[in-house]
């Protein structure tokens, strides 16, 4: 087992696979190089034999690893309450960035909710994303007040500058673009949020200034 950190999205996890040189980051799917000092100098086959011997002789407690462990912590905090499904999904979305299929299957198993219901909830609400997102999430507000004050042109300018469609991610994985129906800053329309930062009273030239802060 090797502790790895992804250079692209800063996610850290315990890699348990058998590759010697590269591992795939479970969050953003980039290929992460395994540092040389972490790979055993012992050859590939011999290494796996060593691991097999170890697991047969030690009695390992049934500890959940990886995604199952992440989900289990939240489910325990919620005391296995089925009604907390949406709150748990929100926390996972926020910390992990997206909801991979394995996570939905784990939640279905641990909370004892049918998988079809978990999928129904995850696809009904706009806050959840079932595909990996970029590092920064841009949300342009399309509420009535912002629209009347010209948020449509702001959205277009962002789409042009980043070459990305609405609900899409840029090719380099830096930005994801979404529209949102009212963040509550209606007096300062048009409004755009990038991650947790709010930017109000936007005019067309401001778009470049805001985007350049997140390069």
């Amino acid at each position: 087992m090797v502790e790895l950190a992804c250079q692209h999205c800063d996610y850290e996890w315990d890699y348990q696979g058998e590759n010697e040189y590269y591992a795939t980051c479970p969050r953003c799917r980039y290929k992460v190089r395994i540092p040389e000092d972490k790979v055993s100098r012992v050859g590939h086959k011999k290494l796996s034999l060593e691991i097999k011997k170890k697991t047969l002789t030690e009695k390992r407690p049934a500890k959940l690893r990886g995604i199952a462990a992440i989900v289990n912590k939240l489910v325990q905090d919620a005391q296995y309450d089925k009604g907390m499904l949406i709150q748990i999904l929100l926390k996972l979305q926020r910390s992990f960035g997206w909801l991979p299929k394995e996570m939905l299957i784990e939640i279905s198993k641990q909370l004892e909710i049918p998988l079809s219901q978990v999928y129904q909830v995850a696809t009904f609400y706009k806050a959840f994303s079932l595909a990996p997102r970029g590092r920064h999430l841009i949300r342009v507000c399309m509420g009535t007040s912002c629209k009347v004050r010209g948020s449509g042109t702001i959205l277009e300018r962002v789409q042009n500058r980043l070459s990305v469609d609405k609900d899409g991610t840029t090719l380099d994985g830096k930005f994801s673009l979404e529209t949102v129906n009212c963040v509550g800053c209606c007096a300062l329309g048009p409004v755009m949020t990038v991650d947790d930062d709010y930017h109000g009273n936007l005019k067309l030239p401001d778009v470049e200034r805001v985007l350049s802060k997140y390069q």
């Binding site: 299929k101 299957i105 049918p114 998988l115 079809s116 219901q117 999928y119 129904q120 696809t123 009904f124 609400y125 079932l130 595909a131």
Partner: protein
Amino acid sequence: MKNLTLRIDDKDIPANEGMTILEAAKNAKIEIPTLCHNDELEPYGACRICSVEIERKGRTQLVASCCYPVEEGLKVKTRSHKIDKIRKTIIELAAVSAGIDVTGRMRELASEYNADLSRFRSNVKTEPTKCILCGLCVRRCIEATWDTAIGFIGRGVTRKIATFPEKVSVCTNCNHCYSVCPTGRISSIGADPKFPEVDDILAGRE
């Protein structure tokens, strides 16, 4: 259970407390059309075809008879010019996503109410799906298996029925979904996925 009487189409109909208007009408052999209703399943109230006009405290309103509980002295009208027009429009609206090639109960109702299935279809450019999202197949599957192989995903116009490949093993080939479908969407008997897989829909391949 308390017995009470309500008036449906100027006839006094006996009913028990806790029944819905639809049940009371069925017992008295009065026809009210339905698309998303099945006697063995909980009422769902999605198709709105069973809408009837009730008069209560001097006000008239349209309600779904499959869900409305009976009350003493309730006045109900099941056919009128207004109700027929609304039912006709509902069938025409259902054909917007479903398309004009539907069979089964929906085709029967369309001819009964003289609905033109292509009236609003020309406004949209999506592929017809033959599905009116009545939910009968999903609800029946939940009754049979709890951990269903099919389910709803999405919201609004993007609402679809998807198959979950991990759960297809749960499908026992009971073919209940085939027997309850009112539009002929589920047309085959057998174990093939009756609906596209969820990953394909989410990735936009369907």
